[in-house]
Symmetry: C2
Subunit: 454 residues, 2 copies
């Protein structure tokens, strides 16, 4: 192991070339960008997101090189990154890397897109930068580890480094400048979970802050602004201040061989991740046996202890947000609509039929499922039908995980649904946007992604 | 003690009225503003500061309500606060609160001035807001404590809250909104000492980040953006994540009775604080006995252990920055010029006469001085003259501390010298600026402090 892992990681990020990246990883990066776009548009109209957009209007320039996707307004890279990052972490539909408990897209793509638009970078450069951001951010998240995550929102903290890596790669930073950018990013790194207790708006502030500060760290480094050379592992660095069990070896884990980006999961259902395995297993039963809701007498979800801890208290959800943490509601929506997406939650989380299904659902601790967790998220359900049959469903990897990923058309469908739901764009506009995403890797110059308002 | 100290402190900051503040505290606040102005202008031309100003030009609007003092450019409050905060923490001449190891002016005044100029607030409102910022920031620094300071730059971390309090007071936040602002500020709070090892540029980034993020937290709170209600003391708040011995009682210590602002020290000499007591004691001897440099055969500085630890290694300083940590150089400048200001360091730190004096200086551990430290910083020197006399100098409080403070005219002189040194403004311009600072408390509307470029 290197005695200067920050430098090794910075050199990797600064030196990464498009041709170094295996073709399937490039394809996955394109898909993650597409998925991010949908999540970003889903933030349109959300109060905390629109508040940050008003702040950006007040503090940033009116006009510029970079696009705020929800408003289609142009401004400076700093504020475009800030608002897009806030927007894409609102609907809880953005991607997640399980091992690092880190949401990469919502911090990496806002910084990368804003800089790419400012520089007129190519699609290949944008994708290369995104890969650099994912590889750095995920390893920083793994390095900071679980004790860090207990108090800090890793997407905010590691996310600052991830954004700096992506922006810095586009800016063509040398390895030494990239190390400076890491220093300036890490020393601005922040984000505490305390807001959860009050259901406050900080979640979007964390991603906004990470993307904007990471971008600024890279921008400053290009202009000669220096930073700590061991901001991650140093005696007064991030691990010393913000973690109790950081493992520096994780920072440089198989760089260039292991592509952490490809381990990232898409979110399929619009609910808490702990509900997803059972939802997939129930969907399997419902489809295989063509069950109508009225045929269901009882559903047992066989789950790991963590699911019981998080979801157990939610028995009578009063809001959409609470309903996303109700196993009964999620399985009720699946049984009724075959989906648990943002539209189904918004329109039907508390209607009578779904509530009736909800009350037929029970969770039960399952030894096999519990032992496999968190390496594998097995989904198992038993359905008792009104005519007395006992039906079993099982998935070994929830939909969206790398071994059970979403197809390109499922991802496009997800983006269309999210944009329609938030009214960020109509279907015709979205077809244009999706077409330009499809050809992005061949684009010589990244321009606007959204059609401008007339 | 309250079980919700964040709320008590936020309510104090939101409710503080000009008439609540004792007249001497108001006068001191005016003096601290004057002192801050000089420190801010001293950052003119400094590479890291000018790099941040270029960043602000690239990312912020060209034009606006708020003034960047070093360039006299107008921009948005966010970027004016950001650059002014960077500028005022460069020359190491800004104020310090000993107990909290916190530099209040460099984070409080940039946020307060930027918002006051945006709103057209009165001088009284600006001063009231500054007092709120000092009282909050100092108490947060004391709360986070020494273990926090070992890894974190308290001026960056507590500074975010201080800036939010000052900006929030000007914005007229309700107590509930101020608590939201604290939540959004604390969850962006950052700044690690790791950069010291590499003499990197992060120090100015920390104050820039604190002032800008604190201002944004307050701005967002006015617009309904919510934050954690116990960001300081909560189970996943700042203390939980960033300190090991936080004492919540410090947050609410004698609010409205104890004025922590008035405990703040001005910096007089432009050197490490550990040199100041001996410098003052030597100045006393030199003045009393009208000693010429050639009459000095030997100087013994009787010091505390901390001074030996920090200053001991510096025997042959190669740069101005190192020279500020050389007891011999500082006492040499005092003996030669009667001053150890920025000009003396820049022009003479390594000239032959000062170097010769430097080599006549020795430090010696003194039991009385060491025991009194850090509550009192006693200065004691013994001077052996070439004609065989042994002369003793002693000060019980270094110049700049509240019991031995700088007069208004000394503060104006300091500001004039700093502005002249950095070429931020000429003497005639500075006379205009100082006159407007003198009448600031009576100003109905805070406008530009600096004359605009023609």
């Amino acid at each position: 192991m290197s005695d200067h892992p920050s430098q090794v990681l910075a050199t990797f990020a600064a030196s990464l070339a498009f041709d170094d990246i295996p073709a399937p990883v490039v394809v996955r990066a394109e898909e993650l960008l597409l998925d991010w776009l949908g999540s970003c548009l889903a933030g349109h109209g959300a109060r905390p997101v629109e508040t940050l957009e008003r702040f950006a209007r007040a503090m940033g320039p009116d006009g510029g090189s970079s696009e705020v996707l929800i408003s289609r307004r142009l401004t400076s890279p700093f504020f475009a990154a800030l608002v897009n990052a806030a927007a894409s972490h609102f609907a809880e539909q953005d991607d997640v890397h399980n091992g690092s408990v880190f949401h990469p897209a919502t911090v990496v793509f806002p910084a990368a897109l804003a800089v790419a638009q400012a520089l007129g970078s190519s699609g290949r450069d944008l994708l290369t930068a995104a890969v650099a951001g994912y590889e750095v951010g995920i390893r920083v998240g793994e390095f900071l580890g679980r004790p860090h995550y207990k108090v800090f929102h890793t997407t905010g903290t590691a996310g600052t480094l991830a954004a700096a890596a992506a922006a810095g790669r586009l800016l063509g930073l040398s390895p030494a400048q990239m190390l400076d950018a890491f220093g300036s990013a890490g020393t601005q790194s922040a984000g505490l979970w305390e807001f959860l207790r009050d259901a406050a708006d900080s979640k979007q502030l964390h991603t906004a802050h990470a993307a904007a500060c990471g971008l600024s760290a890279a921008w400053l480094a290009r202009d000669g602004f220096t930073g700590a050379r061991r901001i991650l592992e140093g005696e007064q660095g991030m691990a010393a201040g913000m973690s109790r069990s950081a493992n520096p070896a994780r920072l440089t884990d198989r760089l260039g061989q292991r592509w952490a980006l490809a381990e990232t999961s898409f979110k399929y259902h619009a609910s808490c991740r702990h509900t997803h395995p059972a939802a997939d297993a129930l969907l399997q039963v419902v489809k295989t046996h063509r069950l109508a809701p009225a045929q269901i007498a009882r559903v047992t979800a066989h789950v790991h202890q963590g699911a019981i801890d998080v979801l157990g208290p939610v028995v009578d959800p009063q809001t959409v947000h609470q309903a996303k943490f109700s196993m009964g509601t999620v399985l009720g929506l699946i049984a009724r609509y075959g989906r648990a997406g943002v539209e189904e939650f918004a329109s039907s989380f508390d209607d009578a039929e779904v509530a009736a299904l909800r009350d037929k659902v029970a969770m039960e601790l399952d030894a096999e499922v519990d032992q496999a967790y968190p390496v594998r998220w097995i989904g198992k359900v038993t359905v008792l039908t009104t005519d007395g049959r006992e039906l079993h469903g099982r998935v070994d990897e929830p939909k969206g995980d790398p071994g059970n990923t979403l197809s390109r058309s499922e991802l496009e469908d997800k983006a269309l649904r999210l944009a329609a739901f938030s009214r960020a764009a109509d279907a015709a506009q979205m077809q244009t946007v999706l077409a330009s995403i499809r050809s992005l890797a061949r684009a010589e110059r990244i321009g606007r992604l959204m059609p401008s308002h007339a």
